[in-house]
């Protein structure tokens, strides 16, 4: 499995300075079969075979590749998570009968036997929730021709967690909000979001911290509204947060111009000169440099997008690049080398 960049990391699309990506996820289950956490070995394997056959029906048009997680190394599985193509839950050890199908651009990812039998996920760069939904909807339609979904008229799509019931839809946007954090507005913004029924998470989902000022915002409720309504509501909220982040950036640039330029310059200095760097530090500094590039405080553009640079510093990605496992100290050295080479070498 090649460790390169996914299409969604291209840094293109509407509002892509602040909205790193848009994601649609649909939870689906097959009728009359226990959910994955209750499956026997036999049921798990049978599910894999049924779903693999259904996914093959998407080919050749959709260029899907089906991978059982047991066929991948632990590092390869973790890279999939670092690229946001699978959830942390899917790769939880020990892997048994989980699988993932990916298209060649790594925009579509179908997780099999995660918390639900199927989780259809579409990732796109920038603010493109509607576009991502169109694709997820078509993939779902095609799979449903081959699979008997668990569905009831009142409750909609039946899911392992009652929290995903109804549409089975979780729409989310990944936002880079350094100015809202620096101006200390973030906690208040997120409190408001919670009141609006939105959930805020860190970079790698549930329980993870807001490293690099990256936040994922998604809908909480999934039943009783249409997919279009849920997506529209999130898009409106995302647009509002983008507006507030832009205001905060203008404010910082005006009132703290020198301090900001200094912070960005220092981050760049460390990134291009350090010999040892932890992944948390890298993400924090990359966040500063990305903000600097957005605000024209750097000489020229960065040679890679923020999501690409973030991925390059992740522990498992580094090890797959190195071709072997690395001790944490070795990783910190290799991370610093990679950043020096890719940032300074091209400038």
């Amino acid at each position: 499995m090649h460790p390169g960049f996914s299409q969604w990391m291209s840094g293109t699309g509407p509002e892509s300075e602040i909205v790193l990506s848009s994601r649609i996820r649909l939870a689906r289950n097959l009728a009359g079969i226990p959910f994955p956490h209750r499956m026997s070995e036999e049921q798990g394997r049978a599910m894999l075979e049924r779903v693999e056959a259904a996914i093959q029906s998407l080919n050749p048009g959709w260029h899907m590749t089906f991978r059982r997680l047991t066929e991948l190394t632990a590092l390869e599985r973790q890279v999939l998570m670092e690229k946001h193509l699978v959830s942390p839950q899917l790769i939880q050890e020990p892997v048994r009968f989980e699988a993932v199908a990916l298209d060649d651009r790594e925009g579509i990812s179908i997780m099999v036997n995660e918390e639900d039998h199927l989780r259809i996920q579409v990732l796109m760069p920038g603010l493109q929730l509607e576009e991502a939904w169109q694709i997820a909807n078509r993939v779902d339609d095609m799979l449903e021709q081959h699979l008997d979904y668990a569905f009831d008229e009142t409750r909609g799509y039946l899911t392992a967690w009652p929290t995903n019931l109804g549409t089975g839809l979780r729409a989310s946007v990944m936002l880079h909000l350094p100015a809202l954090v620096m101006t200390r507005q973030a906690p208040q913004v997120f409190t408001t979001l919670a009141q609006l029924g939105m959930v805020v998470r860190g970079l790698y989902g549930e329980g993870s911290e807001a490293l690099g000022n990256i936040f994922q915002i998604s809908n909480q409720v999934s039943l009783g509204l249409t997919e279009e309504e849920l997506i529209h509501n999130l898009a409106v909220v995302a647009q509002q947060i983008v507006g507030r982040e832009k205001n905060a950036r203008d404010h910082l640039k005006g009132s703290a111009g020198i301090a900001l330029a200094d912070r960005v310059g220092r981050a760049w200095g460390i990134l291009t000169n350090a010999r040892v760097m932890t992944s948390d530090e890298a993400l924090k500094l990359l966040s500063d440099v990305k903000l600097g590039a957005d605000l024209g405080l750097m000489d020229g553009a960065l040679p890679y997008t923020f999501p690409q640079l973030t991925l390059m510093t992740r522990p498992s990605f580094l090890q797959v690049e190195a071709g072997h496992e690395l001790a944490p100290e070795e990783r910190d050295r290799m991370r610093a080398n990679t950043l020096r080479e890719h940032l300074a070498g091209k400038r």
Partner: protein, 180 residues
């Protein structure tokens, strides 16, 4: 701080650090030194980032609550899904169901919970083409009837007649469908 040096807070870079956080994620240890004020602010921050983390606690909390409409005490605890054998007790502990049929098996307990989680009880979203064929047809009929009423209101009778023909065609498929 044990080396006698005064550490500066890693967040505000102003005040001396008084609180030390250490955590390990994917084998990577990270340390964080903060002043008291920043630690409090980050704490507030984590509180906001927290709720999703404990979805099963939210569920568990609801189910365990005195006066919660789904509570039937020991009677509900003994319930089991006839399809997968999962018990209501297990659901109450984990917040997760055993199979799609559990929703029927535990419906008296689950329905109020679902209402509480989503604020609504009736699905209005997508309907799968095969498993939801009947509902799909019914919704299509509803939509057409609304369109026809609207056309009549606008006195667009030709359009209304066309829609009526479509409705008749659709109704041809099911014998018990009401006539317009």
């Amino acid at each position: 701080m044990n080396d006698g040096q005064v550490r500066i807070c890693q967040r505000c870079h102003e005040r001396p650090a008084e609180v030390h956080f250490s955590k390990v994620v994917n084998g990577e240890k990270s340390d964080r030194y903060l002043c008291e004020q920043c630690a409090r602010e980050e704490g507030a921050f984590h509180f906001v980032l927290g709720p999703q983390f404990s979805m099963q606690h939210v569920l568990g909390g609801l189910i365990g609550q005195a006066g919660f409409p789904g509570n039937r005490g020991t009677a509900a605890d003994a319930l089991r899904c006839p399809t997968c054998g999962y018990s209501y007790r297990e659901f109450a502990e984990t917040g997760r169901l055993g199979c799609d049929r559990c929703y029927e098996a535990f419906q008296a307990e689950l329905n109020p919970l679902i209402l509480r989680l989503h604020g609504r009880a009736q699905h209005r979203g997508k309907v799968p083409a095969r498993s939801g064929k009947e509902l799909y047809a019914r919704r299509e009929l509803e939509r057409l009837r609304e369109q026809m009423a609207d056309a009549v209101k606008r006195e667009a009778f030709e359009e209304a007649a066309q829609i009526r023909d479509k409705i008749r065609q659709l109704e041809g498929g099911s014998a018990d469908a009401p006539r317009v």
